[in-house]
Symmetry: D2
Subunit: 217 residues, 4 copies
Amino acid sequence: MEIKHINHPPTILNRYIAELRDIHIQKDPLRFRRNLERIGEIFAYEISKTFTFKEQEVKTPLGVATEFLHEEEIVLASILRAGIPMHNGLLNYFDRAENAFISAYRKYTEDGEFDIHIEYISAPDLNNKVLILTDPMLATGSSIELSYKALQKNGKPAHIHIVSIIASQAGVDYVRNMLAGEPVTLWLGVVDEELNAKSYIIPGLGDAGDLAYGSKL
Amino acid sequence: MEIKHINHPPTILNRYIAELRDIHIQKDPLRFRRNLERIGEIFAYEISKTFTFKEQEVKTPLGVATEFLHEEEIVLASILRAGIPMHNGLLNYFDRAENAFISAYRKYTEDGEFDIHIEYISAPDLNNKVLILTDPMLATGSSIELSYKALQKNGKPAHIHIVSIIASQAGVDYVRNMLAGEPVTLWLGVVDEELNAKSYIIPGLGDAGDLAYGSKL
Amino acid sequence: MEIKHINHPPTILNRYIAELRDIHIQKDPLRFRRNLERIGEIFAYEISKTFTFKEQEVKTPLGVATEFLHEEEIVLASILRAGIPMHNGLLNYFDRAENAFISAYRKYTEDGEFDIHIEYISAPDLNNKVLILTDPMLATGSSIELSYKALQKNGKPAHIHIVSIIASQAGVDYVRNMLAGEPVTLWLGVVDEELNAKSYIIPGLGDAGDLAYGSKL
Amino acid sequence: MEIKHINHPPTILNRYIAELRDIHIQKDPLRFRRNLERIGEIFAYEISKTFTFKEQEVKTPLGVATEFLHEEEIVLASILRAGIPMHNGLLNYFDRAENAFISAYRKYTEDGEFDIHIEYISAPDLNNKVLILTDPMLATGSSIELSYKALQKNGKPAHIHIVSIIASQAGVDYVRNMLAGEPVTLWLGVVDEELNAKSYIIPGLGDAGDLAYGSKL
């Protein structure tokens, strides 16, 4: 498993992350969602640098041009509900991709073990495709783990890109350990040091789902 | 329950519905989603005509203006996954709304009865709010019914707007019967006559979820 | 010439106008431009209610549908530079329209008379088309007058829609007088009473061009 | 003067360029403009990698984060009318930038010499700012030259980025020669070999302005 830090070198992306974090600016949900969307677009662009490109001819009104176009079939998967604005951004750039939406949680048995319970999944056949799985926050790594495992029932992708804007160091370590040896790239915006007792990333930004879509019961 | 037909008089909305239906144009998923989004925006605008407005003062750089602004607290709810592009459109216009996402199905018992099983729900307190529930296709009315009932656990809205682009006559009748006497407005783009044995609206447009997001296993 | 007030009954549009005016909210240029764009979309939708619609058949994957589609050929014209965000909004809805951009001013001669000097114009043939001319602020009416006259060199439209968000009463009177008897509809958001000595609308919103794009030398 | 080719390594950007060129796909003006806009966004992102970043503290709901944010003041300038969709894309990403719009042509005198005639210009003070000047096609280099010189009246930028999607080799040579020794970076999508007698790039894509906005008289 490879880890890529998208904020080295720094870019305008940092501004969007700063705005997501900023306790005053994040009060505007339109701008909050727009920042998630723009970051999704930038991840899409950077991920596309890893694709394989093949020469194709394109007929223009004035001649024939040669362009190098990627051949991968892409599936964009996001974890409900906080992943939707980033999903929209990724889809802005990969506008012909297939899409998956997923929600999963741990269902504990009496002896303290747990099964992965898939609450909701809508996903295509994943065999030999490039899967891009997105969750804006990588806190404990549990959501990514559950979604990753749930999606495996739909086939074996050629490669998996996991995308998070803000991660905790503990979450990165957990995912790295879990996916060691797998054909996975973990794309990160920034890594914050601390994960508090309630599994919130510190300094983080708070609850991305609530900030994008309002609180829920 | 009141029914409002948004395509009388005809408007540019008809063009978007025609493009959603068109077997050639619907092959472009970017345009397909964009049409769902634009239609969501137009429904938002038309629904806002039913709101209650109150005079408020606004300080401009050159003086003080008086504007009539609505006071309703709005919750946008959409049925997964086909409702997301319309949800995005409604949220483009009601950018400070709270949001709900829902997936529900009928779970049959041995004796042929069924419970409403909520697969996924993320919703705020709904008491005294204006709930706008959206599903692009109203075929049998079953999805709307299940979502409507599932959302009731979160409180009693002051008013509920149900929004569908293409409905079958059977679906309209079903919903009207189910919601008789309730504080509900059903907003419709067009009503098609037929519902086939597989519960597809004819001529309809096919499967809105697949056309927006690709097929699923 | 007909005048249509788009904020009767009040709608969510009022919120966008209030935000454009608000001395605090208008400091966010992204939201300022977005409000101009959304208002452009709503004007497009309301204008489309005046079009002539003709039955057309559309082939769906499951049958043949009949839709009423407009037949007008539309040209969107905006006055530089403040008209561009509204132009973008109108174009979001009339996505197959032709487009015109214009800048014009009065060039005075020694005897105090003036010619209309077209600084910049890019416009198609306008004969028999529906021309939608947009400027967010209608202050004195001079910009609209100059642009209107400059565009006449490109042919005689079947109908002209002039669109402004905030107008002064003096500007409305001026345009009404100038265009009496012409096939023109003037679409207005709100009308403010006062026009100050510097030709600013009071309370208005300040300078729409500067707020959208920054000050200029 | 430095030249940067943004399509090495290849990315999803190539797909957008291929769609702009494609004689069938370019018939959809919504997609054509959207591709120009997306390419503008990607140029914005890549250009931001050249900025200078400085540590700043951001207060989150849960703590204090440190982000590296750029300090440059940005001015986006585009050549009318074909530059507007790319301008919109650059502005999507640099949403707090100042903006300039310009149109200029050569006005010949009787002795065959010419002056630069500025048809339209709206631009802020440029001193010490980062100017990003955009024109989708770099054919002869004449439009860029005229706009560049016209903008000089507004001050001396700290750095100038010139952005074109498709350039001719002759145009690149012309601009390189003209701007030798200047603090300028020329950003290019692709370079086509030929420039025909009518100054069209071959294979190019045709007329970007007409494809985005319709033909003009």
